[in-house]
């Protein structure tokens, strides 16, 4: 494939995420550390879930197609649940971190708020998840070959890139929603995040009918974005002011 495919897919998948990183996270070393730690937590959750799936696959009959497909679905669902569990663990860790930061600071307030941490943790989860999805694809796209020459979809790389982008955004918003739910003890918010995650992952089994997986995922992303925006203190009024560039206080930013 060509360099155009490589660069195109890279920028589609990671462009928005890297812009978020550069403009909101790269300046503050504490946020970079939280990002990397979030990525690490996602990595550990993936490692554990893939271990379970691997054991299940090895212990089963490789010839049975239905069973293998069933195991795959089971693996995906288990992985989603484990990822959310690790998000909760990370929330616990960051809670303790805030207490430590408050104790260490001079004026009794932490240099970073739990909402900012939620946003950064979400971006960390999303970036790592996106990287794991896309990197092998991108490496292959630099080599020779034709996409879908054996009858598969020709849009595979492109749709993977779009799916990765939406997943990174979704992880960011889920981070905000999840932490808000944990903070204010609203278990239904947490349940909503888990259900959304399960839905998006389950929809990916519609592939190669890409309209079945991409379109609902984008709709869910818009919904999650609006919800996260409202939870972070945004409102229709703020949005109007921002769009009309009216100067009356801080313009709305996610998670600040």
């Amino acid at each position: 494939m060509t360099l155009a495919v490589f660069f195109g897919c890279t920028f589609i998948a990671f462009g928005p995420a890297f812009s978020l990183f550069i403009f909101t996270i790269a300046r503050d070393p504490l946020r970079i550390i939280i990002l990397i730690a979030g990525a690490f937590f996602w990595l550990v959750s993936l490692l554990l879930s893939s271990l379970i799936w691997f054991i299940a696959v090895k212990a089963s009959n490789p010839q049975d197609e239905q069973l293998q497909k069933g195991l795959l679905i089971f693996g995906v669902m288990f992985s989603v649940l484990l990822q959310e569990a690790f998000r909760f663990l990370y929330y616990k860790l960051l809670r303790k971190a805030i207490e430590g930061l408050v104790a260490l600071s001079e004026d009794g307030c932490s240099p970073i708020s739990i909402q900012q941490m939620a946003y950064v943790a979400g971006v960390g989860f999303g970036l790592m998840s996106g990287a794991f999805s896309m990197i092998n694809l991108l490496a292959d796209s630099l080599g020779p070959g034709t996409v879908g020459i054996h009858g598969d979809s020709q849009l595979y790389f492109l749709t993977s890139a779009f799916m990765t982008m939406v997943l990174i955004f979704l992880h960011t918003f889920w981070g905000i929603l999840f932490f808000h739910g944990c903070e204010h003890r609203r278990w239904w918010e947490i349940a909503a995040v888990v259900i959304m995650h399960l839905t998006v992952s389950g929809l990916s089994f519609c592939n190669p009918l890409y309209v079945g997986s991409l379109v609902p995922s984008y709709l869910l992303m818009v919904g999650a974005a609006a919800w996260a925006y409202l939870l972070s203190g945004g409102s229709a009024q703020n949005l109007r002011r921002f769009l009309l560039c009216l100067r009356s206080g801080a313009s709305p930013q996610p998670g600040s």
Binding site: L93, L104, P111
Partner: protein, 448 residues
């Protein structure tokens, strides 16, 4: 092969430095008050040795107190900043190693083994392979231990010339020979036509500038770049010549050995660092990656003794002192060239730079060797750590049959290790309440 015996040469000092820096960090978890006291003592000692040109004692006292208050405010922010300052070079080194492994096939081709790992891993049974790799790792580790002890003994008995010569030889080897091989292989991979004359010129320039930057003075960024490059070259050599099981085993055993050597009271590396601290000397400046310039490069200094001390404390003092005295006698313009002086005069008005005025400026606490502003205090990381991490990531990417996920996972894991190992206070604050004094002691100790 002669290069193999030489290969042990750079290996040990690089390990020392990783331990030195680790020790700096573990030290502050001990009696932090004692460390702070030691540091302020050291400042007063520095005064006696005219590094700050006869600064009166009271200034030091005030500076130390003000320092403590500032530290408590700024420690947390700068603790995180220091971790990021370490992320960048470690990431760069790993990127260079992974890029090379993925593109240049020379470093993944099996071309024999080092003499330190004589047992082959191409055996018939798994048990035999395991046994061979254990034996290889044992031999390698004992070589490392022997070399470490030798280095500590040399340092203790002040055989600075031997150590100096050893370091020079190993940097020469890395900068000239290994980079020549690397360049050759890169040219082969990309099918670039090249003649020996051009290559000789390139390698000569690269090597000489590298020797100057690393062992003498040079722009900070250039020195950092060279240290990263030689770490990457060393890591590539290990990735090529160590068979797989041996490599993983050595990595595991070295981590354990590091902990023992640094934390045990009789550990060789701990003794090395303590001896260096007793003597108020910096440890082998050529083999530690430092994120700030600790010594003033163009300091106009009348006293050659202090100038030598601030940079090459382990090196021979006599020859440089003579040279500096001659320079000073010739043109006492403080080392500033005519054009520079004119520019400065144009910008900020005429200033007479006399020995007295220079001495007065140097008497100010701000430009002493240990800077009071925590932002300027850098972090130091031994090159052994760079090599260790790069070998880990490089081996993972070489053996994982082209899978980038493995490389990425190793990379993130190493960053987390960097995070927790080099800013224990940061992680402590995330997990338990940490005392701010230990953090400021760590920041102070990292500036030594």
């Amino acid at each position: 092969m002669s290069e193999e015996s030489e290969e042990s040469v750079p290996l040990l000092p690089l390990q020392q430095e990783s331990m030195a820096s680790a020790l700096f960090n573990t030290d502050q978890n001990d009696n932090s008050e004692r460390r702070r006291h030691d540091n302020s003592e050291r400042r007063r000692n520095d005064n006696a040795e005219s590094e700050t040109n006869g600064q009166p004692q009271s200034n030091v006292q005030q500076v130390v107190e003000q320092d403590e208050e500032e530290d408590e405010e700024l420690t947390l922010k700068y603790g995180a900043k220091h971790v990021i300052m370490l992320f960048v070079p470690v990431t760069l080194c790993m990127v260079v190693v992974v890029a090379t492994i993925k593109s240049v096939s020379f470093y993944t081709r099996k071309d024999g083994q080092l003499i330190y790992t004589p047992f082959t891993e191409e055996t018939e049974t798994v048990g035999q392979r395991a046994l061979n790799s254990i034996l290889n790792a044992a031999i390698m580790i004992s070589v490392i231990i022997v070399m470490t002890i030798l280095l500590v003994v040399l340092y203790k008995y002040r055989c600075y010339k031997v150590i100096h010569g050893w370091l020079i030889i190993s940097s020469l080897l890395l900068l000239f020979f290994f980079s020549f091989i690397y360049l050759g292989e890169v040219f082969k991979t990309y099918n670039v036509a090249m003649d020996y004359i051009t290559v000789a010129l390139m390698i000569w320039n690269f090597g000489v500038v590298g020797m100057i930057c690393i062992h003498w003075k040079g722009p900070l960024r250039l020195q950092q770049a060279y240290l990263i490059m030689i770490s990457a070259l060393m890591a590539l050599v290990f990735i090529k010549y160590l068979p797989e099981w041996t490599a993983w085993l050595i990595l595991a055993v070295i981590s354990v050995y590091d902990l023992i050597a640094v934390l045990c009271p009789k550990g060789p590396l701990r003794m090395l660092v303590e001896t260096a601290q007793e003597r108020n000397e910096t440890l082998f400046p050529a083999l530690i990656y430092s994120s700030t310039m600790i010594w003033l490069v163009n300091m106009a200094e009348e006293d050659p003794e202090a100038q030598r001390k601030s940079k090459n404390s382990t090196y021979d003092k006599k020859a440089p002192a003579n040279r500096t005295q001659n320079e000073d006698a010739d043109a006492d313009d403080g080392g500033f060239s005519q054009e520079w002086q004119q520019q400065r005069d144009n910008r900020i008005g005429p200033i007479e730079s006399t020995p007295e005025s220079r001495a007065a400026v140097q008497a100010l606490p701000s430009n002493s060797q240990t800077s009071e502003d925590p932002e300027e205090r850098g972090v130091k990381l031994g090159l052994g750590d760079f090599i260790f991490y790069s070998v880990l990531v490089g081996k993972a990417s070489a053996t994982a049959s082209g899978d980038w996920n493995t490389t990425l996972a190793c990379f993130v894991a190493i960053l987390i290790v960097c995070c927790s190992a080099f800013s224990p206070q940061e992680m402590n604050s995330l997990l338990v309440f940490a005392s701010s004094s230990s953090l400021s002691a760590k920041v102070e100790s990292s500036s030594d």
